[in-house]
Symmetry: C2
Subunit: 279 residues, 2 copies
């Protein structure tokens, strides 16, 4: 099978590596607007060749759209205009807008909207990891709007990657990821800025940073080119969660201000409930 | 050398294991108010025997005070009242109050105030890890108030554990850990509560949680018995950082509300500055 990866970075690159290793992709064609990424993807064996979009889509069986989501929204209707039997899947972090952008397309059936729940704070072909997706969840949205054979091919791809399938409506997906992914990035960015501000006064503030700090702040290394479009597209859900999160922080603040340590203990015990989820 | 560990949990237990392995401790005596922890510490080989406080201190060369900091503050003057040649060190997450609690003690010189910058979200003897402290920083505060031989022994202990020594005033320590440790715990507790609240409406919200979420929330598993006293003792510094952190979050909120994506990008790029610190 010939596969085109549009956007040869962290997600597209990791998929290409895995699908080549599984013997599922005979040939992987890379399409990328960034010449450096094209060069790196070739050098790292992520893609076998680089092509222009139209040519790549024409000769492929499967097209994986793995650009930042603002570009994906623009490219999807263009790609669907080029396909006949090909299957097109995206891998973006929001699902409502991409589904809307394809909704009225005559080739809507060839498109499958997906979101594999894996990522890191790094980006570009050099961040790609072969066994990235194993044992993680992948969401497929609006399955009923996709052709049966297209869904089956995409399910096969994710099966090969070792992912378990979750089906949901695109709007439900976008609410959930605001809670379990997007807000984590905002808290990390804000925490990084809090401490970096302090560093201007106390230039050795990081001398004592250890694992706990790193854990809560590592996502702050994430690329704005990926994340600004996510926050734009999922703005209302993210604002809801951010408001709730600030309200939760204010409870801690109020406990400290009023020296109400009984309630502080209660808040922490409640938070300990996360032990049910994170083993 | 005979060493007494008061509080046989995560930190005390990890130290005991390492110091036994290095051959530095011939005998480790455990003192713990929790009978279950005493039993576990014996079973896990963390301590060789369990004793009452007075007896243990009397026959030891080194006493490591590793209880939650509210207990340490009360126990330190009691222990200093029992020592003559013994060295007493604490390992608590705040340093100002413990130093004050010893300041006027006739045996102040036998005490060395320390804070090894390592921990996890787990607690108790079963959480102890042998190679816990390697390559991490340890802070020694108010060194000038400790006897020279006491400081040398403590420096030797931390050298054996593979830690690098940082010296600072207890008040400076407490400001810094508010930024690089205590606030991370508050953001994690608050984030856990934000998502756990949502779970009441949407009981499958965690189905999509992956590495990024886990990273920012894992500290929310931390024990309130340890953390409430830390927030009490470092209340003013933690409140300062918490106020700054809420102000930083409000900048993100304002960007989303006003759809000011240029400034949002700027905030994220600024946060990316953390790449300098976290490799």
């Amino acid at each position: 099978m010939t596969i085109t990866i549009i956007g040869t970075g962290l997600i597209g690159g990791s998929m290409a590596l895995a699908l080549k290793e599984k013997g599922f992709a005979d040939k992987v064609i890379g399409v990328d607007a960034n010449p450096l990424h094209c060069k790196q993807a070739l050098a790292l064996g992520i893609v076998d060749e680089i092509q222009e979009l139209a040519e790549a889509v024409t000769i492929s069986d499967l097209v994986i759209l793995a650009t930042p989501i603002n570009a994906a929204e623009v490219l999807l209707p263009v790609i669907l205009g080029m396909v006949n039997k090909q299957v097109v899947m995206d891998v973006g972090s929001t699902k409502k807008i991409i589904c809307e952008s394809a909704a009225e397309n005559k080739n809507r059936g060839r498109f499958v909207a997906t979101h594999p729940m894996w990522g890191t704070e790094y980006s570009g072909p050099e961040a790609a990891v072969k066994a990235a997706f194993e044992d993680k969840a992948v969401v497929i949205c609006g399955k009923e709007a996709s052709d049966k054979d297209a869904v089956e091919l995409v399910e096969k791809v994710y099966g090969l990657l070792g992912m378990h399938l979750v089906y949901m409506h695109s709007a439900d997906h976008d609410v959930r990821v605001a809670y379990v992914s997007h807000i984590s990035h905002i808290t990390s960015f804000a925490l990084a800025n809090t401490v970096l501000e302090k560093e201007r006064e106390e230039d050795t503030i990081f001398e004592l940073a250890s694992g706990g700090f790193e854990s809560t702040v590592r996502l702050a290394k994430s690329n704005p080119a990926m994340w600004v479009p996510i926050f734009m597209q999922n703005r209302e859900n993210v604002l809801d969660v951010l408001n709730e999160h600030i309200a939760q922080l204010r409870k801690f603040k109020s406990c400290l201000e009023k020296e109400n340590y009984e309630y502080l203990e209660e808040l922490i015990e409640k938070a300990n409930g996360i032990r049910r989820i994170l083993k």
